[in-house]
Amino acid sequence: MPPASTAAHTMINASLVELRRALDARQISSVELATLFLNRIAALDPQLNAFITVDRDGALAAARVADARIAAGEGGPLTGIPLAHKDLFCTEGVLTTCASRMLSNFVSPYDAHVVSLLKEAGAVSLGKTNMDEFAMGSSNESSFYGPTKNPWDITRVPGGSSGGSAAAVAARLAPIATGSDTGGSVRQPAAFCGITGIKPTYGLVSRYGMVAFASSLDQGGAFGASAEDCALLLGAMTGFDARDSTSLERPAEDYAAALAAPAAGKPLEGLRIGLPREFFAEGMADGVRAAVEAALAQYRALGASTVEVSLPNAKLAIPAYYVIAPAECSSNLSRFDGVRYGHRAAEYTDLADMYGRSRAEGFGEEVKRRILIGTYVLSHGYYDAYYLQAQRLRRLIAEDFKAALTQCDVIAGPTTPGTAWTLGAMADDPVQMYLSDIYTIAVNLAGLPGISHPCGFDAAGLPVGLQLVGDYFAEGRLLATTHHFQQATDWHQRRPECAR
């Protein structure tokens, strides 16, 4: 028997710790839990469009295996827990499209490292989530499969590029989801959808099997309702992978255990929060400013102190990023040539024509724009002026963070200058959209970890996110800091209408 509707509602909104308890106590089976979420996807996703592929059969099969493991007492923290994967993680036997026509027929013969780690942990993949095409965009509007809608207001974007994963978790179509973050693609949609999202230090999560956008910036990340859920998911995603040369060889950390410290009255006593002058100067919407200021007051109430810091070169992050990321993407996407897999034009006259037509048909407008920018900046005679210059800026930005982090333990600010915009509002102005990533992009350029957590709502009732940035490998500190904030507040427990 499926659980009664109130029980179902509880399960849908339960934390991973609660789900673990229910599964281990046999209050619910993994098959029942998966069915519950699959049914929600069937009911709600036609409107939200958060999923590109729903893998009902695969999910139920994995859930049966998880139930057997739990029965045998062999389960781990994630055994039997449903999740969703951003559709740029390769999944054996299941379509991996990157939300592109180019890969609309691509079934990977292998699993991404992250996917196989989560499979081994016993997590149950419900399917693959919508995204901006090849992760290029901040709104999910560049998806070949149509935009995902924001569960808080379906006339608005969920953010991007991991908008499908963020919307799925916000609407409780999945308890947790994977994402990737090249310039804010986990943190910005987490902010827009009112959930928690973490992008770890570059090199912590293997990129093997995560289809590349910009290799030196791409990093897998985790979505959950809370820092606690993110800690459990991220803990299962990290670990050295010899197949990724940029994977860092360091011992795995138990992020969830780090949260278990008892919550004292002032649990953040001694924590120095740096507030970059440049992030609070201008360009921030009033509703965002108010929510962030209130959250900072809450942090002070928890014992933290705030100190002004400066990131003088942060304003150069967007121009540097829009040279480096397109340069790398122009090369990374060259393999999509219609020769071995993916879309090939039906008719062509010769080799050049086949390449031209296949790529013209297979890629959307934003992807083409970035390939063209990248090709241009790497061209003979322009390389020094653009690419090398951008790499110099990148070093300056990283040095800014390094200097700021000598004066504070974490850096805080808004995740985004505004809240979720209306679908189509930025369609004719890509640069305006690029600018919305102003607070997140610098963090990728420096390779630092960052987390976004909900901290309130604006006047339109849209969620506002606060970003914390830490030093390299400070994931545990970012999660614990957020966790203490979430112990004292309930922003992370607010749900959009469809999940109440």
């Binding site: 990129r207 122009s330 090369s331 060259s334 071995r340």
Partner: protein, 486 residues
Amino acid sequence: MSRIDWEVVIGLEVHAQLNTASKIFSGAGTAFGAEPNRQASAVDIALPGVLPVLNRGAVERAIRFGLAIGAHVAPTSVFARKNYFYPDLPKGYQISQFELPVVQGGEITIRVGEGDKAYEKTVRLTRAHLEEDAGKSLHEDFHGMTGIDLNRAGTPLLEIVSEPDMRSSAEAVAYARTLHALVRWIDICDGNMQEGSFRCDANVSVRQKGATEFGTRREIKNLNSFRFLQQAIDFEVQWQIATIEDGGKIQQATVLFDPDSGETRMMRTKEDAHDYRYFPDPDLLPLVISDDWKARVQAAMPELPGAMKARFMDEWGLSAYDATTLTASKEVADYYQSTVSAAGAALAKPCANWVMGDLAARLNKAELDVSASPVSPAQLAGVVARIADNTISNAIGKKVFEALWNGEGATADEIIEQQGLKQVTDSGAIEAIIDEVLAANPKSVEEFRAGKEKAFNALVGQAMKASKGKANPAQVNELLRKKLTA
């Protein structure tokens, strides 16, 4: 019009396939001749999401090469992407090294020409860098379509670039041969030119003798034999000189050599050259080579041909020519050294003569490599030793060698014994033979006494024949002369 004295300027780029078991950025095998696309992993066919991981064995071979030519082995070098579209280039870029190659500088000494005209020359190297090979496009057998075989994609290559230091096709070939021997000597490349393991591109230009500027060069691509290298350069040089003397100008270009016509033919000009948009590969960290790693590679380095050649000359008294010939390949050098160690250093010179003479000729006739010689170094040493101690004559030595070649016995001694080839040195026995010969050839005796020295040689020949070649020739000479002049 006065005749212009032309100078030829040549630089070579050699692609040596490194003999690692697996590819440079994946675990797939590298053996030649597998069924199409059966040695191509997810990384080699560039599936979405895959990443390269550098093969340390390839790096180690590059280090070995760098140390062998006295180059600077860069403590930090960088892999870059060379971007272009082609169906047999799965990623749409080739991972290579551009601004910071692993091997920088170095030099190779070559010996050009033979006999009195032979001379030595040092060719400087610009660099050697690691890169991956592309796959193959197969234009036949597919009915108007092209087949793609990605087995070769990702095979490790060391691209070895020389300075434009060569001044003739003979020098270019000598350099290529020396380099070919070296990469096999230090065991980084199998050198199989038919299978494409060692491919040469030649940059050729001409200028007036005494000019300081180089002429415009044309690059001849993909020469896979030393003969083609020579022919292509010779044709190209004549063509360039003729073009200039006819008032034309050389245009920078890439050309192909057609072995059937013996001509070079234009492939593309500089104007059609790709913009490869090189940039550092963000999937790979900079390649860091520690002093410790270099020291370990150095410690495992075999004695190099230059050092071995000097040792042969200093310790064993060989001539420069002999020492060069015997160190032309690792296999010959190994064979020669084994022969000397069996025969004794005192016999180094006759051993050299045998290895370069009778053995080389016999191997050549049988089209066999020295490593496949039916006569082992120890067996050959036995022949040399028996000649040296007068057990057999040089002529009988050849007979024993042939018998060993045919497997008629295990050692020279066994064959000498079984076939009764031991030299006769008993003066009594030789005198008896001489007496018979003198009695049977009164005419020759008469002629000799009349002053015809030639008749003496005829009598020696008769005596040797009568002894079935076994009589000691020196003794025959001596005793015969004694009898005739008595």
